[in-house]
């Protein structure tokens, strides 16, 4: 069962187009809601006149931020750490696309038409669109005044009061060893600044929800990755008990982290309670683009290294652009701890910031802050290798974490994460050689660096990257119910979004219960009936929910043994469980099936529950402690071809190296690695949200915002998975491969061109500009710097 390539349990519904997405649901009498969004990046909402909209055909209700603020039945401000957002902008709009009003009407067309009739008077305010602007002295403030905290986490309580009246959302500081001493010890210092842009999740099913309020209870059908948290938010906003808010999730048409925060549910619920009608809120594709996205980042790293390649000091300023509302940014910035990469560094100084800007609220995004720092630290490793004249593979092998080493957070990585093995393996797969062979005029595969400018030559290069990723610090809960016929229900709030959760959790439950897969049914989330789970995210479900389920099954197994002991008149210690039955050891004839035991007990069903606790704690001042219950490694080897005439980068080969622990279902492991790698490839080459100078997103559609197609998939794609055969321990894969891809591709491009791109994505325009700069520099007699913010110094210069 464990390790079998079982097809998805709902494959039939998926392949026949009959599977239920929230988007498919229509209820009798259901109203359709449409949102009016701010055209201004930062504007006080002076007055909203909805009278014309209210008179329009079919319109049942119009709500504005003022309505929310005036309703004593509502507590509109919410947020996971800082309560800085309301479902509709109450005092002011903070980005282009901020919801300002909403219309509910009998038909979707009527709602869409009526939204146009709402008149809003704004007082336009100065706005900030990037990290530099937001932090400049005198910058306009998005959230001035006192901050209302949701979380009592020690660092939130300690730091937040000091951040009021700034655009800093939160700060994480990491202090380890003695940075100055480390740099004093260094022979070479390398400093670079790297940036990554905003990126969209593009789930094919957009955010949507239907809410229905009956008999004092709210039921919400949603396309959300965090149904339990969503229920808690809605209960808080509507001043209801969590027990009276029921969130039901069938399956998602994609999530990728963008569907963790409740974007439609509070509005649908408020309208449903007001109108006493079911209400649907669905986002258009254009709205989806201004609803959630990845944090843009700017990361400066200064590295101190000894001549032999030993890393001795690391200083980093990490800035995550959180956009207009804080959401999970206070947690995400902790990923600054990974700005060192998966390497031993004794002396570290990291300041990691989340920053408010008048752009879309950045949310969780596949990889959760690691892709940003990985883009920086893995190019930094190649830049260090270049400064030392050292093989980048050898530099990584020299410094990479081995069992017993301490990570940047001070925690000991006891487990063998197999970095060296995976690095060597990826290098071998891409034909890594150092130094790269000189480029022949007709460069064939793998011929390495060259400078064929102006010749229209296609040059090739190879690159490597290694990353480390943790997981989220939330426990998981599961309940199992063994029925009178011996079948097993598993109740969890884990969301199936195509990753195969229902299938692999069933495999784990069946394995633990010694039942066939057909005897196990894993629920989809229904928060009235399934226990709390923070979210399906952070590559955590197979491991943590899997463990919670095993505990729950073990509890039922103990009950079975106890019942069978009396039913068989045997000592419990003489009994064991085999293939859905309790057997007296050594007497195979004396056995009772689960069905016989439950039926004889007259209990109808046996219920067990399980919890997988997670303990994570970092010191507020030093950032030292335990950052993750588990660490995941990923390696990427890339081979690229760059057209020097057009700047176009073609990825010829990706080879991924992962340590899944044990693959519960290799099909889904392969799919997750493939999918996450292509997510990384899109971000490496072309995915980028582009705002104009007024803060308007210029590419909110799939014509101007490209995602990887069949034609972008590398000709050669491979994955190496290191398994521990007898284990049932799992390392998450959903996000893990992603962060390694872009820097590996960039390192390959740098090898091909001899210059380095420090800013994502590697668009033809950007690459071509770099080629031209390089050639001008070469013509002028010296090698031009690859981009701004680059410096490399010997000891003398830096001292």
């Amino acid at each position: 069962m464990i390790g079998e390539r079982v097809p998805m349990v709902d494959a039939y519904e998926r392949i026949t187009g009959t599977i239920d997405y929230a988007q498919n649901l229509t209820l009798p009498g259901m109203l359709y809601a449409r949102i009016l969004r701010s055209p201004h990046a930062h504007a006080r909402v002076i007055r909203v006149d909805a009278s014309k909209a209210l008179d329009a055909p079919g319109v049942v209700a119009v709500l504005t931020g003022a309505d929310l603020a005036a309703d004593p039945g509502l507590e509109p401000w919410f947020g996971p750490f800082i309560k800085d957002r309301a479902p509709l902008a109450i005092d002011k709009a903070r980005y282009v696309g901020d919801p300002v009003a909403i219309v509910a009407a009998e038909t979707d067309d009527q709602a869409r038409d009526a939204v146009e009739l709402i008149e809003v008077e704004y007082e336009v305010l100065p706005a900030v669109f990037d990290i530099e602007g937001a932090l400049a002295p005198g910058a306009p403030l998005l959230h001035p005044g006192k901050r209302h905290l949701e979380s009592f986490r020690p660092d939130i309580v300690a730091r937040q009061p000091g951040l009021e009246d700034t655009n800093v959302i939160h700060v994480y500081k990491l202090r380890r060893g003695d940075m100055e001493a480390g740099f004093a010890e260094a022979d070479v210092v390398v400093e670079r600044t790297y940036t990554t842009p905003g990126v969209a999740h593009v789930p094919f099913e957009t955010h949507n929800a239907v809410a229905d309020y009956k008999g004092g209870k709210m039921t919400i059908w949603s396309s959300i990755q965090a149904p339990s948290s969503c229920g808690a938010y809605v209960a808080g906003i509507l001043r209801m008990n969590i027990s009276d808010v029921r969130v039901i999730v069938s399956t998602l048409g994609g999530g990728y982290g963008g569907k963790i925060d409740p974007m439609c549910e509070p509005l649908a619920a408020i309208l449903a309670r007001r109108t006493r009608r079911p209400v649907r809120v669905s986002l258009t594709r254009a709205e989806e683009f201004v609803t959630a996205g990845k944090h843009p980042s700017r990361i400066r790293i200064r590295s101190g290294v000894k001549r032999d390649g030993t890393l001795v000091a690391h200083e980093a300023d990490v800035y995550y652009d959180g956009g207009s509302y804080s959401l999970n940014t206070p947690e995400k910035i902790y990923r600054g701890y990974a700005s060192t990469g998966p390497y031993r560094v004794p002396n570290i100084h990291v300041d990691s910031y989340g920053v408010y800007t008048n752009t879309l609220p950045a949310s969780a995004f596949r990889g959760y802050g690691i892709p940003q720092v990985a883009w920086a630290h893995e190019q930094q490793m190649d830049a260090i290798a270049e400064a030392l004249g050292m093989d980048p593979l050898a530099l990584r092998l020299k410094n990479v974490l081995k069992p017993g080493d301490q990570f940047s957070t001070g925690e000991t990585i006891a487990e063998d994460l197999h970095y060296s093995e995976l690095l060597r393996d990826a290098a071998e797969h891409i034909g890594w050689a150092w130094p790269p062979a000189p480029r022949a005029p007709d460069a064939g595969p793998g011929t390495g660096a060259g400078t064929g400018a102006g010749t229209g030559a296609k040059v090739r290069g190879k690159g490597l990257a290694a990353i480390i990723k943790g997981t989220a610090s939330y426990g998981a809960n599961a309940v199992v119910k063994l029925n009178a016929d011996g079948s097993l229900n598993v109740l969890t709030s884990t969301v199936e979004m195509g990753q195969g959760a229902l299938t692999v959790l069933a495999q784990i439950a069946a394995h633990e219960a010694t039942l066939p897969l057909s005897g196990v049914r894993v629920s989809t989330p229904d928060t009235a009936n399934t226990p709390f789970d923070q979210m399906t995210a952070a590559s955590r479900s197979t491991n943590f929910m899997g463990r919670a389920i095993r505990r729950a099954v073990k509890s039922v197994k103990q009950q079975l043994i106890d019942l069978a002991a009396s039913q068989l008149e045997a000592a419990a210690g003489d009994l064991e469980i085999q293939d859905g039955a309790v057997v007296v050891k050594g007497s195979p004839g004396r056995r009772l099936t689960f069905a016989q035991i439950v039926t004889t007990s007259k209990m109808g069903s046996l219920v067990g529950s399980g919890h997988e606790p997670v303990k994570v704690r970092l010191d507020v001042e030093t950032g030292q402690g335990v950052a993750s219950p588990q660490w995941h490694p990923a390696i990427c080897g890339a081979q690229v071809e760059v057209d020097e005439e057009t700047g176009k980068v073609t990825v010829l080969q990706l080879h991924m190296g992962l340590y899944p622990g044990r693959m519960i279902n290799p099909i889904h492991c392969e799919l997750q690695v493939l999918g996450a790698s292509l997510f990384g490839l899109g971000q490496a080459l072309f995915e980028e949200l582009v705002w104009d100078e007024q803060g308007v997103l210029t590419n909110p559609n799939l014509s101007d915002y490209m995602i990887p197609s069949f034609l972008d998939v590398p000709r050669t794609f491979g994955q190496t998975m290191i398994e521990i055969p007898d284990s049932i321990d799992v390392h998450g894969l959903g996000e893990t491969p992603l962060p390694a891809v872009a820097p590996a591709i960039a390192n390959a491009v740098a090898q091909a061109l001899g210059v380095r791109v420090l800013d994502l994505p590697l668009t033809p325009e950007r690459v071509l500009r770099l080629i031209h700069e390089r050639d001008r520099g070469a013509a002028g007699g010296g090698r031009g710097a690859s981009a701004s913010g680059a410096s490399t110094s010997g000891k003398e210069a830096s001292a």
């Binding site: 392949i15 026949t16 187009g17 099913e205 048409g253 195509g498 999918g675 292509l678 799939l702 069949f710």
Partner: protein, 163 residues
């Protein structure tokens, strides 16, 4: 009022003036396997076969479809819900994750294989380049399409021999 043949069945419908074929199929006709993702003909999720040719139903005005024969994913299964060989190949290779795009891929693949029963991997990549899969299951889709093509060729050979 227009007349359409949808998955072999004649239907009379009166679409609104601006209604797309996608809205008609999902709305009045309740065919939820037809899906909108981009709404501008870029992603292929809404692909259906109209008079033998694949079209983006999100870009097709329903009112202009009078007399068309339209096939959707709902028409692929047999009378008792049996999967077609193409569907079975997608299941066998798990050529999907969230599966939102899958009906579009199935319809596009059917048209591709009708034109080219023995495609190379490269021909599959180019033939299906108009269909996007955000979960990135592309390489499994190549495996599934090759498998389905092989099954179809074996069947065709057997039919020829028995004829």
């Amino acid at each position: 009022m227009i007349q359409l043949t949808i998955n072999g069945r004649a239907r009379q419908v009166s679409p609104r003036s601006h209604e797309t074929l996608l809205e008609l199929l999902r709305g009045e006709l309740g065919l939820m396997g037809v899906r909108e993702a981009c709404g501008i003909g870029m992603c292929g999720a809404c692909t259906v076969v109209a008079d033998g040719k694949i079209v983006s139903s999100c870009l097709t005005l329903a009112g202009l479809c009078d007399g068309l024969t339209v096939e959707t994913v709902e028409g692929l299964t047999g009378p008792n819900g049996e999967l077609s060989d193409l569907q079975q190949a997608f299941v066998d290779h798990t050529a999907f994750q969230c599966s939102y795009c899958t009906p579009g891929f199935l319809m596009a693949t059917g048209a591709l294989l009708a034109e080219n029963p023995d495609p190379s991997d490269d021909e599959i990549r180019h033939g299906l380049a108009g269909n996007l899969c955000r979960c990135g299951s592309y390489l499994k889709i190549i495996d599934a399409v090759q498998d389905a093509a092989a099954r179809a060729r074996v069947k065709a050979d057997a039919e020829r021999e028995s004829a």
